[in-house]
């Protein structure tokens, strides 16, 4: 805060320093920054994305990455623009583009969408690049393919899977109204998962300053205004403390206990509809819901193969932290809104902040290697929702007949559609599916629907399906790049005849 330094700035000086007008980049990205914040935006701006094939679907995906401002993209395609391309790909210059290279034409139009994005057209044949220059692919942070032939796709997926840097790959397949896509990655670290559950207030395990503050309140001498403004956190902590004193140190256990606990709260009201007590009763579950480390974190802590990345070190420190009493995660400094006067609320907030700051320092001391303050703070703030996802190799599902058979029973239309897409590039659809799951009965309606659609419109890249996929696949790409939110785990299968999506987990 530069303002603290000089005491006697006059108003002119102050106003020049306060020019808070955001720059044009902030203005351009205003609406998305409200979703993924500067951390997400900065990740996007350093991303290098390779898209293979300049189809309508591929350019739709790219459009949705160029607009929010990825750092760089390369479009790789050696084909020339056909009249059909000209009719369904908005990012070609109509008939003028016919006969020219698809990648070059599309890159020119896509670049116009955002000056901040660095773009490049690569007119080589992917088959040649895979054969002669495999390391080329490792220079990207994300690779997306659309309707790449199975042979080349497998080669590319294997190449990326086997390399330790493991660039994520999103293969997209679409035929008429049907489509599927998959995200291949080894591990995916998420700090900002935007988890919908909020961190614990530790009502059940109050830290000493909180318990002391709750105990110090003298309800009897309070006037009715003050009594009506006691934050429910104090009410719960204090009532629970009293309860434990007469119940062998245990919180309410049975349904009867819990009802009893609520009536103790209700009995302290001075007026029948005193809001802060109503809140305490509504939040009473916090008194008997133990603050514990969530199962997904316990699972991670038990994982002996934590990566030796900063994220891995942070997780290790989190594990050590939670191994000590009271076996919780570092406290969050954020308080929910509650009935209170400003003074009491701020006082309570400061108690939480003080404790959170102290625990953050304890956490920092447990780190095996020192890390940036900003990262530590971000991690601690989001600790209850951090995730380490482990992905699968592309195509693994198609070589697991037992799993396919199970899915075919439970997720019939998704599985049938996925298999039809897998078989599509082979001349005999049904025979190919039978090679994947020998002996399967293909008489189901779901199969005939899916096969029918693929036979009807084998390579048709329908503009509105392309638009839809463009949004869906770009969204998953943004999740992977920003490392925020949980990506779809497995194959996302799409049918826009009947309008549904489904997920086949890998």
């Amino acid at each position: 805060m530069s303002f603290n330094e000089s005491q006697s700035q006059d108003i002119e000086g102050a106003t020049t320093a306060i020019q808070s007008q955001p720059d044009s980049k902030t203005r351009r990205y205003d609406r998305q920054l409200r979703l993924w914040a500067a951390t997400g935006q900065s990740a996007l701006e350093s991303a290098r994305v390779l898209v293979i094939g300049a189809s309508a679907t591929a350019t739709s995906i790219l459009k949705n990455l160029v607009l929010p401002g990825i750092g760089h993209f390369t479009l790789l395609d050696h084909a020339t623009v056909s009249p059909a391309d000209a009719g369904n790909n908005f990012f070609l210059q109509g008939t003028t583009s016919i006969g020219r290279n698809r990648a070059e034409e599309a890159v020119r139009l896509l670049s116009e969408l955002n000056d901040n994005v660095d773009a490049c057209a690569d007119t080589r044949n992917i088959a040649d690049v895979l054969a002669s220059d495999p390391s080329y692919f490792l220079g990207f942070s994300l690779i997306i393919t659309h309707n790449l032939s199975p042979v080349l796709l497998t080669r590319l997926a294997d190449l990326l899977w086997e390399n330790p840097s493991s660039t994520p790959l999103i293969p997209v397949r679409s035929a008429g109204f049907l489509a599927d896509f998959f995200v291949q990655f080894h591990t995916h670290e998420i700090i900002e998962s935007h988890s919908e559950t909020s961190p614990s207030l530790r009502i059940d395990k109050p830290f000493p300053a909180l318990l002391q503050a709750a105990r110090a309140l003298d309800f009897d001498t309070m006037d009715s205004t003050d009594h009506g403004h006691i934050p429910y956190v104090y009410l719960l902590v204090r009532t629970l403390d009293d309860w434990k004193a007469t119940h062998n140190g245990l919180p309410p256990q049975t349904h009867a206990d819990k009802q009893n606990f609520k009536s103790i709260l209700a009995a302290q009201k001075r007026t029948p509809d005193q809001e802060n007590f109503e809140e305490a009763i509504a939040q009473a579950y916090r008194a008997w819901t133990p603050t514990v480390v969530r199962p997904h974190l316990v699972e991670l802590f038990n994982d002996v193969t934590l990566p030796s990345t900063p994220f891995g070190h942070l997780l290790a420190a989190l594990r050590s932290f939670s191994e000590r009493p009271p076996h919780v995660l570092p406290l969050s400094a954020t308080l929910p809104d509650m009935k209170s006067d400003t003074e009491s609320y701020v006082r309570l907030q400061n108690l939480y902040r003080a404790q959170a700051a102290e625990e953050r320092e304890q956490f920092r001391a447990l780190l095996p290697v020192p890390l940036e303050n900003e990262l530590v703070e971000l991690f601690v703030k989001n600790a209850h929702g951090v995730q380490l996802l482990r992905g699968a190799r592309y195509g693994a599902l198609d070589t697991a007949p037992a799993k396919l058979i199970m899915y075919l029973d439970n997720l019939t239309r998704e599985t049938a559609t996925h298999l039809a897409l897998s078989a599509w590039m082979h001349s005999e659809l049904r025979e190919h599916v039978l090679t994947l799951i020998p002996g399967t009965e293909l008489g189901k309606k779901e199969f005939s629907d899916a096969f029918g659609e693929i036979v009807r419109a084998p390579a048709a890249d329908l503009p509105n399906v392309a638009a839809f996929l463009g949004g869906m696949v770009a969204q998953e790409s943004i999740k992977m790049i920003t490392k925020q939110y949980i990506p779809i785990n497995g194959y996302c299968v799409v049918d826009l005849v009947d309008t549904w999506t489904g997920v086949l987990e890998s």
Partner: protein, 649 residues
């Protein structure tokens, strides 16, 4: 890629034809589609509609382009900022396929020129709107004209697409939509308790008082008094309003000395004198925290004392170093030089990183004072140069945003309420909903697919689709519900009333009703584009709604009949008495208006039933509720009528 490279000589429409089938595909060039809205969804939609092969597209939007649109509205470039969205979008999309005719209209869909006759010129209407009012209006027009409509909306990662067709599906208003929250006037004007109260005050009260039209804003207070608000308090607010005159004059003064001190004058009035004034009403503060009058000079020199704390610049912020509980007195335990900004809410994870997010930082009390002075001076300068006569809040107008941010934060400080950053104020004051390209792409792809189902009359394929951003189920799609039998919009019978509203009298429309009714429709406010509703007061019959429109024949003679009623006249349906089970088969697609003998009710030969006549340009879920909401006026003889709704005896 070779096997998929379709390089054989094929027409541009090969793909579309293969998918849609030759029948629908051949119709597309002749189908007339209306897209309402050229924003995030609208741009995507226009592209998709062009690519799908529609040949005659009308694109309507009221807005101009802002820089913050460019992260998703891809038909616009930086050079297009401030131009009409509809016109620029149409120009950009036309370049893709010159054979498609795109007619842009820079206008308001609620404008009377877009009456039912105009709507009926379209085969399908696609909504890409961002406000409830316009959505409801288009819904009503499409229900009245029996035009297929696809409704849509997005908010962040969430989105929805809903195909609507009269008698076949629910309409947009079959399920009531929540109305925006309103705050009691006294909460805003004298007893705020939350940041939003102070923001609303700065945006909707202080801005108009200082920079808006010079009008007596007493009607709001009259209303408050009627509602039983504290009379003393209201009287005080009245005096307060009077005192704005001198500040307004100073802000508009061409005399440099006067104008440069205007900001301070405004500050003194609203943050010092008005608060002192409020404090004089002891009763008001018996159960509330008292506000503290702010001192301009002391804040400026960092010597201001707020709630018992001498707030010289102590170099800590409440965020990093907590203070002992007994020393902290509300917000104001913080020094002037430490942030008043909020913590914990909003994208605070981003406040620490650079990336030019200057407006996300918290502002100190002195920052806010400086910003208030700066904002006021800049706005005053705009008034004195004569370019603008009035300035209202616009979230994309930086001067107004600065002013509102600073004024709201200063008021918050006076009342012990946490402040907000400029970024947060923008969101709260501007009702900003996060918007991204991906969701818009998903939704607009689905809109066209649903529109094609409607046009193919493949009613079984219609779905109400939600993009829900769940990794396990990205979309949820459900079959459509039938109309709500009690809906006041889509259960009405509609009949076209072609007329000259300046000549037609109500009596002529309702020949056999009370013969006093010689008011023209125009004087009853039933003008072009409005609806005339005839309701059965006994509530047994459905409402008949007559959308008033221009003559279909453009050469209707000036002395020709002033109105042309539909032949046959519509019959109101029997009203559903209570919740009845929905029919298991969808109702017939035939228009509900059929010739049949009227057993009772609105038949002309019958003795007059008491009928309610409602003229409205908007709609609401239940007819009875609609009438009540709009306010019923009973007319007695020839007394003047200035409301939209009349009841005839």
């Amino acid at each position: 890629m070779a096997p998929f490279d379709l390089s054989s000589p094929m027409s541009r429409s090969f793909h579309a034809r293969a998918i849609l089938g030759p029948k629908l595909h051949d119709q597309l060039p002749n189908l007339k589609v209306l897209i309402v809205g050229a924003g995030g969804i609208g741009c995507e939609l226009l592209k998709n509609v062009v690519l799908a092969g529609f040949g005659q597209i009308t694109l309507l939007d009221l807005d101009t382009i802002d820089l913050s649109n460019l992260n998703r509205q891809f038909l616009f470039r930086k050079k297009d900022v401030k131009q009409s969205k509809a016109i620029v979008a149409a120009r950009t999309a036309s370049a893709f396929n010159p054979n498609v005719q795109i007619k842009p209209i820079h206008g308001d869909v609620k404008d009377p020129q877009f009456d039912l006759a105009w709507f009926k010129g379209f085969d399908v209407v696609l909504n890409a709107l961002d406000n409830l009012d316009a959505r409801r209006h288009v819904n009503k027009m499409c229900m009245a004209g029996n035009i297929p409509l696809v409704e849509s909306g997005t908010a962040g990662y969430l989105g929805q697409v809903q195909p609507l067709l009269k008698d076949r599906t629910e309409c947009f208003d079959c399920i009531p939509k929540p109305t925006p929250k309103n705050f009691p006037v006294c909460t805003i004007r004298s007893t705020p308790t939350q940041p939003i109260h102070c923001i609303v005050w700065a945006k909707s009260y202080l801005m108009p008082q200082l920079f808006g039209e010079d009008e007596d804003s007493t009607s709001e207070l009259d209303e408050a008094e009627k509602q039983g608000e504290n009379a003393q308090e209201v009287a005080n607010l009245r005096r307060e309003a009077q005192a704005f005159k001198s500040v307004r004059a100073a802000l508009r003064s061409k005399d440099k000395d006067t104008s440069s001190s205007a900001a301070k004058m405004a500050f003194q009035k609203v943050f010092y004198h008005d608060i002192l004034n409020l404090l004089s009403m002891e009763d008001m503060w018996r159960f509330r925290d008292k506000p503290v009058p702010l001192d301009f000079n002391l804040i400026q020199s960092d010597q201001f004392i707020l709630r018992g704390q001498v707030t010289s610049a102590i170099d800590i912020s409440a965020d990093s170093i907590p203070r002992p509980a007994n020393e902290v007195r509300g917000l104001d335990g913080r020094p002037n030089g430490s942030p008043v900004g909020s913590n914990g809410s909003g994208p605070s994870s981003s406040t620490k990183s650079g990336h030019g997010l200057k407006d996300q930082r918290s502002l100190t009390l002195r920052d806010n004072l400086a910003l208030f002075a700066l904002g006021t001076e800049r706005l005053a300068a705009r008034l004195t140069t004569g370019k603008e006569e009035t300035i209202l809040f616009d979230k994309d107008d930086d001067d107004t945003l600065d002013f509102v941010t600073a004024a709201a934060n200063l008021r918050s400080a006076a009342y012990g309420i946490p402040g907000k950053s400029r970024w947060e104020v923008k969101e709260m004051a501007g009702n900003i909903i996060p918007a991204i390209a991906t969701t818009n792409a998903i939704i607009s792809g689905l809109i066209v697919l649903q529109a094609l189902h409607l046009l193919r009359e493949a009613f079984d394929s219609l779905r109400n689709v939600h993009a829900q951003f769940k990794p396990s189920a990205p979309l949820s799609a459900v079959k459509l519900s039938l109309p709500n039998p009690r809906c006041g919009v889509c259960r009405d019978a509609y009949a076209f009333l072609q007329c000259d509203p300046s000549r037609v009298t109500l009596a002529e429309v309702l020949e056999d009703f009370d013969d006093n009714l010689h008011r023209t429709l125009e004087s009853l406010n039933v003008t072009k584009g409005k609806f005339l509703s005839i309701a059965d007061e006994d509530g047994e019959l459905e409402v008949i709604t007559l959308p008033s429109a221009r003559y279909r024949e453009s050469n209707h003679p000036i002395d020709g009949p002033p109105m042309i009623l539909p032949d046959p006249l519509p019959e109101p349906g029997q009203r559903v008495k209570s919740i009845t089970p929905r029919p298991s088969t969808p109702p017939s697609m035939l228009p509900r208006i059929q010739k049949r003998p009227a057993p009772d009710g609105m038949d002309e030969a019958q003795p007059a039933k008491r009928a309610r006549i409602a003229a409205s340009s908007n709609s609401s879920p239940r007819t009875s509720r609609r009438l009540e909401e709009d306010g019923l006026i009973l007319i007695d003889g020839d007394e003047s009528v200035d409301e939209d709704i009349v009841v005839i005896d």
